[in-house]
Amino acid sequence: MTTTIDIERWINATASGDRAAFLALYDATNAKLFGVCLRVLRDRAEAEEVLQDVFLKIWRNSGLYQANGFSPMTWLITVARNGAIDRLRARKSRGEMVDLVAELPDHGPTPEAAAIASSDNAQMQMCLGQLEPDRADAVRGAYLDGMSYQELAERYTVPLNTMRTWLRRSLLKLKECLTE
């Protein structure tokens, strides 16, 4: 069973150029990170490219992991999410459309990945649950779909400023809940 400690150990070993540790890290976490890339991009070919870039970044940047104060899985997920969002924005700026229902995975996490993912994020889930459903969805849409305020305002058919106020209030509520 892969644990947070294993992942941290592999990241640190990767930082000193240990290829076997890097590949062990890849084997244990690629499914989670590929899932994140697929979820954001909804395009298998692009998600594969981004995943490869993401792991090359991890290979090169693993030495910085200690410095940034994230838990190991958060760091890996954030590198993947940011890589995928950047790709998504580049695609949007080229004006390309994508079939939103295509390419979504239809099976659940592997037991190993589920064990990795069920970390200490229960509180965030609980706090999100305290928001009205569409407000929680808006925060989720910004994180997972890289939606701008403008795009969110269009999705919820509210004026732009209303959308900003909504989202900031939701973030404030989240903050209050998370720091309780």
Binding site: L38, N68, T74, A114
Partner: protein, 237 residues
């Protein structure tokens, strides 16, 4: 509880709110650039971003895992193979290209660099802009001067020890720039003179210079990744 939340237009848009919006990529380009300039030098802000990032990562929990195709692993294995990694030149460039546009831009910026011979410093035209770069935390003290006739930037380090296994990297953050631009890594010597790339020469006025510690070879991302050891504004000499 809800009564504590302001009900008009712009509720508490404080640093923590900005950090959350930054982590979500909700800031517009100008706000994002301004925030990143602060992020480069304000540790408290980086902590706020880290905290929000940690919280938002919970969204990834619901996402089903999908095993990536074996071809991705195979490509990674060959990308990290020792023989290829140790060869510079063509191979190095293609690796940068894989990593993305910012990395490539940084690699090219480095390639544009020409280090002037040390003995030419005395013959430089007068500096028009200088920056005092220092930090109470790191103990680094540097003075930089820009000499426009030669497009030369002279960086003198009077205090500060380079952390073991790291190198110093110099960054220019232009007043209106979206992100810091790498001016390259600095050799371990008290005085370094470098030629500013042509496209940056008009950005010197009002720009900030910063030094970070980075892994050997410089930041792998094209953006500062290490600790900001010193920073200072370029002002009229």
């Amino acid at each position: 509880m809800s009564s504590e939340i302001p009900i008009d237009g712009d509720p508490e848009r404080d640093d923590d709110m900005l950090a959350a919006e930054y982590a979500l990529h909700l800031l517009g380009p100008a706000d994002r650039a301004a925030f990143e300039q602060r992020l480069a030098i304000e540790g408290a802000l980086r902590e706020m971003v880290a905290r929000w990032t940690e919280s938002f990562a919970a969204f990834a929990e619901d996402i089903p895992s999908v095993e990536a195709p074996p071809a991705v692993r195979a490509r990674l294995v060959s990308a990290i193979a020792p023989t290829k990694r140790s060869t510079v030149g063509q191979r190095g460039l293609s690796l940068w290209r894989l990593i993305g546009g910012a990395g490539l831009a940084a690699a090219l910026a480095l390639a544009l660099f020409v280090f002037l011979p040390l003995n030419s410093i005395d013959t430089l035209s007068p500096a028009t802009y200088i920056a005092n770069m220092q930090s109470d935390d790191s103990g680094f003290v540097l003075l930089a001067g820009y000499h426009p006739d030669e497009a030369a930037l002279v960086v003198k380090r009077s205090a500060g020890d380079i952390p073991e296994g790291r190198v110093l990297e110099l960054w220019l953050i232009a007043a209106d720039a979206p992100a810091p631009v790498s001016l390259g890594t600095l050799p371990d010597q008290a005085s370094v003179t470098l030629t500013l790339p042509e496209d940056l020469r008009d950005s010197v006025a009002g720009a900030t210079l910063a030094i970070t510690d980075e892994p050997p070879g410089g930041s792998p991302t094209g953006s500062p990744t290490g600790t900001v050891l010193a920073a200072g504004l370029l002002t009229d000499a």
